[in-house]
């Protein structure tokens, strides 16, 4: 399974890929290769993380046709949406991406991750909201594998807040999934 997480620097894009990959590789007995690309800007530049998850050993570490695209900025959406598989899953940041009409059999879900994070006290939690949302909808890793992967990736004092954000995203994801059915 090929997943692309995209947005701009500072949104915690790489960390989303990192935690999903860690959950798959360390807690779900899968192979997971994360690669990243970023510009020279520390903040605000285009940024993406590519994750390949597989039951077998991953020989070729890069994406060919993504099955899942997460777009957290308009720029990322415009750039990467055309690459998405025809029946892929597209997750967008509701407030930051104005989508075009859905192409082919793509299943598209939106979440106001940044807004939810701000309500939790800091927009920096947006990536954890998104992580919960991704896992609820795509089931790329079991929820427990995800939760087990979080400690150590954020400072201990912020762990609970991030878990809360993740849970909110997850709940919202399950709701959206149910609505879609």
């Amino acid at each position: 399974m090929e997943i692309k997480v995209s947005g701009f620097g500072g949104q915690g894009i790489i960390r989303i890929g990192m935690i999903l990959g860690k959950a798959a590789a360390l807690n779900d007995n899968k192979s997971a290769t994360l690669t990243q690309s970023f510009g020279p800007e520390a903040r605000g530049g285009a940024c993406s993380a590519q994750l390949v998850v597989s039951d077998a050993e991953i020989l070729y570490p890069y994406l060919t046709v993504p099955d899942i695209l997460i777009a957290m900025s308009q720029e990322a959406y415009e750039k990467f949406e055309p690459e998405l598989k025809e029946d892929g899953i597209l997750l967008i940041e509701e407030d930051l991406v104005k989508p075009h009409p859905v192409r082919g059999h793509i299943r598209q879900y939106a979440i106001a991750a940044t807004r939810i994070a701000e309500k939790l006290g800091n927009r920096l939690y947006a990536n954890f909201v998104m992580i919960g949302f991704i896992v609820a909808i795509t089931k790329v890793v079991p929820k427990q594998a995800l939760l087990d992967a979080v400690p150590g990736t954020v400072p201990d004092r912020l762990l609970q807040k991030n878990i809360d954000a993740l849970e909110q995203g997850f709940v919202l994801g399950e709701q959206k999934l149910a609505e879609a059915k």
Binding site: A25, L26, A32, T33, L34, T35, S37, I58, L59
Partner: protein, 386 residues
């Protein structure tokens, strides 16, 4: 919860990128001194060690530039530390002079180069494999070097340990030729129990103090070492020197000094060369690759096999000394050697030279900035199979 204290070696499964895995490899190899200067895309190695070292008894110093970093590493090695520096292309260029000093004075140390696209400032955040020849020939004069190239974060860990071991065994700076892709690629890295990690000790001199000759070699051509401060009163110089370490400026001494420096690597090439071989027997085409290119080539190879082409794969882990014998043997047996690399033909020259016209050789070049499209490698394989 009873948590075991975290020892220096981070035993267990971790999700690490190549840079971080390299840092952990250095710790596992007993490295406790690193001098560095920030440069993308290698900085993460130094950052991780700056964070880890004060908790495990290591020392990190950020020097004023790369010239200073490599000089400090050489000094630290003679001070008795297992030492390393980390850099990328432009910094690697600046280190060249003292890499020569390291070779001449037979100073064990590891130089990690997380390669990016060049020349000059080039592509700071994007990949390249364009320093391969510089690793071999970048400093002036005749010398031999050891260089390894990893294809995965796991290898970034494993081979960093190997780099230290080889540098101690052969008393030579060892180049670890990573690239941005491997450095920033995150995968599961399994770190073994500390006891099971093979760490080779320094070749300490154990004879009487006043009998020590810094450059009198053991049987394998490598001299034993001492550390500064133990009253051996050695003189270590970058000038051509005799067994005492004294400068002798003439052709005879140059002959003895330089040929031993090169022979200790050349004569032990069989011990040093590490390759991974796959379906070489009966192959019509063999893909020769290293580093991230080897990883990318696997897709092309798989696709080619699906088309019924007999493709073998020779992955170079040791890039210097160049696995010449392997290539020479292969050249007599296969129709074509295909080599993708992220430069316009560096290691390819070696392949061509070793093949010596006994089979076709094809370069799949790439200027850097990204990896090959596997399609391009596949095309070359199909062409080579004709």
């Amino acid at each position: 919860m009873n948590q075991r204290p975290r020892g220096p070696v981070l035993t267990g499964a971790h999700y690490l990128d190549g840079d971080h895995a390299c840092a952990e490899g250095a710790i596992a190899a007993g490295c406790r001194f690193i001098a560095g200067y920030p440069i993308t895309p290698s900085t993460e190695v130094a950052e991780r060690l700056a964070e880890r070292f004060p908790r495990i008894g290591g020392t990190f110093i950020q020097m004023e530039d790369e010239l200073a970093s490599i000089a400090a590493v050489l000094g630290a090695a003679w001070g008795g530390a297992r030492a390393m520096t980390v850099t990328s292309g432009p910094g690697f260029s600046l280190m060249m002079e003292n890499i020569g000093l390291g070779v001449m004075t037979e100073t064990p140390c590891v130089v990690v180069n997380v390669q990016r696209g060049g020349p000059s400032t080039g592509l700071p955040t994007l990949t390249g494999q364009q320093d391969m020849m510089q690793a071999r020939w970048g400093s002036h004069g005749d010398y031999e070097i050891i260089a390894l190239s990893p294809s995965s974060p796991q290898e970034c860990f494993d081979l960093t340990v190997t780099c230290f071991n080889l540098s101690e065994k052969y008393r030579v700076p060892v180049m670890f030729m990573m690239d941005e892709c491997v450095g920033h690629m995150t995968e599961k890295v399994v770190i073994p129990e500390a006891d099971t990690i093979d760490v080779w000790p320094r070749r300490w001199y154990r004879g009487p103090r006043d009998k020590y000759l810094p450059y009198a070699p053991d049987k394998d051509g490598v001299p034993p070492m001492i550390r500064a401060g133990d009253d051996h009163r050695v003189h270590i110089t970058g000038l051509t020197h005799d067994a005492r370490g004294y400068p002798i400026i003439n052709a005879e001494c140059q002959q003895i000094c330089v040929s031993r420096l090169t022979d200790k690597i050349r004569d032990n090439a069989d011990d040093l060369v590490m390759v991974k071989e796959e379906q070489l027997r009966g192959a019509d085409v063999v893909v020769v690759a290293y580093g991230i290119s080897a990883r990318v080539a696997t897709k092309a190879i798989t696709d080619a096999r699906k088309k019924g082409i007999k493709v073998g794969f020779l992955r170079l882990i040791t890039v210097w000394p160049f696995p010449e014998k392997k290539i020479r043997d292969l050249a007599g047996k296969v129709g074509c050697l295909v080599m993708p690399e992220i430069n316009l033909g560096q290691m390819y020259r070696e392949v061509e030279r070793a093949a010596a016209g006994k089979c076709r050789t094809m370069l799949v070049p790439h200027c850097g900035g990204w990896v090959h499209d596997p399609e391009d490698i596949l095309k070359a394989i199909i062409e080579g199979a004709k």
